[in-house]
Symmetry: C2
Subunit: 233 residues, 2 copies
DNA sequence: CCTAAAGTGTAACATGTGTGACACTCTTGT
DNA sequence: ACAAGAGTGTCACACATGTTACACTTTAGG
């Protein structure tokens, strides 16, 4: 029993070593830091709701296994997918401090998993215990702000065509003319904040215009220049 | 000449004492910190563009006097006002670190003023020199992320009516039924990301429905319950 | 005090998007 | 291999919003 625990802990530290928060630290360092900190492991199962939008954020959460899904739901019931989170990432990192530290999204599991939980007070201690972790945390929070800023860019495009063009150009590796979709059209529609049939319709139009060829999860950019012109140069 | 400089510096430290970044510090502390740091003062005049979206953020900037205006401009030329900044606030705080530290907005002055500039390296030093400043900075960056998150909430509303209702309810002091507008309809339209005549039209409709009375920069909430129902319960 | 600039109310019209529906295809698990 | 579920293509229709235009009011500056 004790052995299993030790093995689990070892696996956890290995996972954490790859996390943005503990980047640059050795497993031994992490072990030391974590064991000086009150913490717990929370198991969760698929479809479980882990937090509701508006709830107070009182603990730092680091996803160890599984997959999470964050979405904003407005009062009319429309939902806007904000992001999906894979391990080993920190959850709600930018919402642990600040004047209004509440969850901005409904957080639910889309796969069984577990996460490491550290209460805010202990996490703050951890930040001042290790300069590297602090630095990493600063980068994470800034990164989140930048992510949200890009999200706003997206939402501020007025037409679906613009949104698609922007999305494709963002995900196009230079040199290639293929974009690999990491999600279904349904998922994409939720990300872009548009209705699914509207997205499909617009894609059809763009195909008819010889702009792109959309097949399964591979999209070929046929006319790159025209695509850029849609974005108004 | 030297006297004027000393007087200016004193005024600056007083201003900084009220800034979120130096909250809780004494003027003497700030004096010491700043004077151990390479810094400069930049003067700017009304309508001057201080930074373009996409430009690299290489220095920490703290607004001392004047007023700034940040807006996203998409390629088609549509602009979305993100925020207006008053002194003594830090500018682009959440974009100094992180994986992609570039300005998210076009930054321009809407009044003459000056700002304190500290290069990134020196600012980082400043953060580790004083625990309180670091803490303040963490709060600022988190606050920015939360601000952006709220902005997304706004943009994700589909109808203008919803946006107006949300805006009014956000700015309604409990107990009162008056909301004081801090900006013109034109400015509000830019914030909400809608066309100005569309906003005016919707306001007219809401007045016709006996929901609100919009006069100058005072808005009276006539039917609070109905307003909440527009937001879907 | 007067003028120019900025902001506001309103209209007719074009258009992009959401809705709800349906058939079809692909994926998944049993 | 099959069934059930999820995803996709497409349609007709309603409707909210953008556009452009113009008259009017308020504000700010000389």
């Amino acid at each position: 029993m004790c052995d299993t625990l030790v093995i689990f802990a070892k696996k956890m530290f290995e996972a954490l070593k790859d996390s943005p928060l503990f980047k640059g630290l050795e497993i031994a360092d992490i072990d030391l830091l974590i064991n000086n900190t009150l913490h717990q492991i929370k198991q969760f199962s698929n479809k479980e709701v882990l937090a509701y939008s508006g709830e107070k954020v009182e603990k730092a959460m680091i996803l160890l296994e599984g997959k999470l899904h964050g979405e904003m739901v407005d009062f009319a019931g429309n939902s806007l997918k904000i992001e999906e989170m894979d391990p080993p990432q920190m959850v709600a990192a930018a919402f642990l401090y600040g004047p209004q530290s509440v969850f901005p999204v409904n957080l639910s599991a889309i796969a069984d998993g577990k996460m490491l939980i550290i209460y805010k007070k202990d996490f703050t201690q951890l930040l001042s215990d290790d300069q590297r972790v602090l630095n990493n945390y600063l980068n994470i929070v800034s990164g989140k702000a930048q992510f949200l800023s890009r999200k706003i860019t997206f939402l501020s495009f007025k037409t679906i065509k613009e949104k698609i063009a922007y999305y494709l150009l963002q995900n196009l590796r230079s040199g290639s003319q293929m974009v690999t979709m990491t999600q279904s059209q349904k998922g994409l529609a939720e990300m872009l904040g548009v209705a699914r049939p509207s997205l499909a319709r617009t894609i059809s139009e763009m195909e008819a215009d010889q702009l792109i060829r959309w097949e399964r999860n591979q999209v070929e950019i046929i006319n790159l220049k025209l695509l850029q012109i849609i974005l108004g140069r």
